[in-house]
């Protein structure tokens, strides 16, 4: 069984980012980048399925400028077998990303497609669901547990109301939540080995399709900042302030 994992390069989640003063985007040109934490969990899960003998091949794909090859190499070091880099300098909306991935799915024919449930930059939480729709596959979103059966996959999902487990026919799309697993760190020998693993570069234009943005971004602005308040000396003062000043008790 083949697994396809789609990953994204993002600004490190520990970096406190700000919009540019001109409102034309984020001030992130120099920020440290990493693999989106949810995508890293997706890679880890795929590698575990391979180690368990469930998967035979793990293919990772990322769409973006040449810099995303760093994240692809990292995924190869974690245990993926092969990488695809769909090269483009434009930043695509989730619908366009799903359309590009659908072409890759039609070429690779994986049984399982794993994606992070959201990327921590755009916070869209859309791509996996859209890809599933375009492929006509079932979807197991926000997965915290995956159980691969012979001809279906059982996915436990984190919901606002608790948890639910779905049985999905194969092929299926699964988007990963944080509690699915704890990703490993790549070891030095595996980082070296990853350099030899195949990484294919595909120009977005050769996949050629409608990837024009549908939404127009008018501005990116800073949210209202919360004013830092006061420190109280003890619980009695806290209760007094909440009653007399804030009037919330």
């Amino acid at each position: 069984m083949k697994i396809l994992v789609a990953i994204k390069r993002v600004v490190d989640p520990v970096v406190r980012v700000r919009p540019l003063v001109d409102g034309n985007g984020m001030d992130i040109a120099k920020a440290r980048t990493v693999t989106n934490p949810f995508c890293e969990i997706a890679v880890e899960e795929a590698v575990r399925l391979k180690e368990q003998g469930v998967a035979t091949e793990v293919v990772v794909v990322s769409i973006g400028p040449p810099s995303v090859q760093e994240q692809l190499r990292n995924a190869l070091a974690l245990g993926a077998d092969r990488a695809l880099h769909i090269q483009t300098d434009s930043s695509l909306e989730p619908l366009s990303i799903a359309k590009v991935l659908r072409v890759i799915v039609s070429q690779e024919l994986p049984q399982l497609i794993l994606l992070g449930k959201q990327s921590i930059d755009g916070d869209h939480n859309q791509t996996g669901q859209m890809l599933a729709a375009l492929c006509g596959y079932p979807q197991g979103t926000f997965a915290s547990h995956i159980d691969y059966k012979k001809d279906e996959v059982w996915v436990t999902r984190e919901l606002d109301s608790g948890l639910e487990t779905l049985a999905l026919a194969l092929p299926a799309v699964i988007t990963t939540d944080l509690r699915l697993n704890q990703p490993r760190f790549p070891t030095m020998p595996n980082i070296m080995k990853a350099r030899q693993k195949p990484l294919e570069i595909i120009a977005l234009e050769t996949i050629s399709m409608d990837v024009q943005p549908r939404l127009q971004t008018l501005a990116v602005e800073a949210p209202k900042l919360r004013q830092q308040g006061v420190k109280v000396v003890d619980v009695a003062e806290l209760v007094d302030k909440l009653r007399q000043e804030a009037k919330v008790l």
Binding site: V17, N125, Q126, Q139, L159, A169, V220, V248
Partner: protein
């Protein structure tokens, strides 16, 4: 202001363990904002199995034309594989398709959108015109203002920032429509409902939220927060670290990847205030932080900070309330 254009909206009603989810009233609050810019005819959609009671409740929402109810086994458990093609067909007839930005809406709306070949606007926090919306990005560290001119505008609403509408006196007509057909791609095996909100308010609807972090040290110690919550008629939330450590259930995680709350009073106990946590509570009116580390980042967003050991401060607080 004169409203020049007429438009139509279909709002998908969300159901929870009790039936009609209170989140719907906040989503309708967003619809009220949209009405400032267009003369809006609103239909509500209730889909599921044995969902006529929910439809009857929904019919009491003011200002709507009708409630469409699709009752049948095809829509049971609202599986997105069943709902999405069916809903895409329905939605083409409307100018807007709207649902809450909950795990239900997040699962369903993008799937419907792709089938309609439309890029949705998710997590809407402000409606600025008929086609201009604000949504947070980067864990709420920025707000993006976007404009769309697609055939149908697909929106998911971050309910916490909108004011709930109240049920009215009038009851709108409830019209039965054909439910989604059965499908074989997915089926529900089990539900582990971690919490049914009977004694305590639901987290995203509560006036007061008490949240605990890793500082609580154990699930047993979370009982301390529940005692405090009882005094305040509050809901209890948790940081990711507390959920990961098994102190609290996943459905009470507050943050970028959990629930977003905006209560009148948010009390953060033994949690450090990571960017991802703040993303879920920054719109709270009054924030209290109790932490033994005077440099914890949570104090930067707190109106009232108390540097103290929570194991002495919380019992004292319970005592004084």
């Amino acid at each position: 202001m004169t409203l020049l254009n007429n438009s139509t909206a279909l709002v998908v009603i969300e159901q929870d363990a009790t039936g009609f989810s209170p989140i719907n009233l906040k989503v309708m609050g967003a619809i009220e904002c949209l009405r400032k810019f267009t003369r809006l005819t609103v239909d509500l959609l209730v889909v599921g199995k044995d969902c006529t009671a929910v439809a009857e409740t929904a019919a009491r929402i003011p200002g709507i034309r009708q409630v469409l109810v699709a009752d049948g086994s095809g829509g049971e458990h609202q599986l997105s594989e069943a709902l999405s093609p069916w809903l895409a067909d329905l939605a083409f007839a409307y100018d807007y398709l709207v649902m809450g930005s909950t795990t239900f809406g997040k699962n369903l709306l993008p799937r419907v959108a792709a089938l309609m070949d439309i890029q949705p606007v998710t997590d809407v926090v402000a409606i600025e015109s008929t086609n201009t919306f604000q949504r947070p990005i980067y864990a709420g560290n920025a707000l993006m203002r976007v404009m769309t001119d697609q055939a149908t505008t697909l929106l998911s609403i971050r309910a916490s920032v909108f004011t709930a509408v109240r049920f009215g006196e009038l009851v709108a007509p409830v019209i039965a429509i054909a439910p989604p057909p059965a499908q074989v791609l997915s089926r529900l095996l089990s539900q582990q409902q971690v919490q049914v909100y009977t004694e305590r308010p639901e987290l995203t609807a509560a006036r007061v939220v008490v949240s605990g972090g890793r500082g609580l040290q154990s699930g047993d110690n979370f009982q301390l927060l529940y005692q405090l919550a009882d005094k305040l008629e509050a809901a209890v939330g948790a940081s990711r670290a507390a959920v990961d450590a098994g102190f609290a259930a996943n459905d009470i995680q507050v943050g970028q990847t959990g629930k977003v709350v905006a209560p009148e009073l948010y009390i953060a106990v033994g949690l450090s205030g990571a960017i991802q946590h703040i993303a879920g509570m920054r719109d709270s009116k009054v924030v209290v932080a109790i932490n033994k580390d005077p440099d914890a980042p949570i104090f930067q967003v707190a109106d009232y900070g108390l540097v103290a050991d929570l194991f002495t401060a919380i019992p004292e607080l319970i005592e004084l309330l």
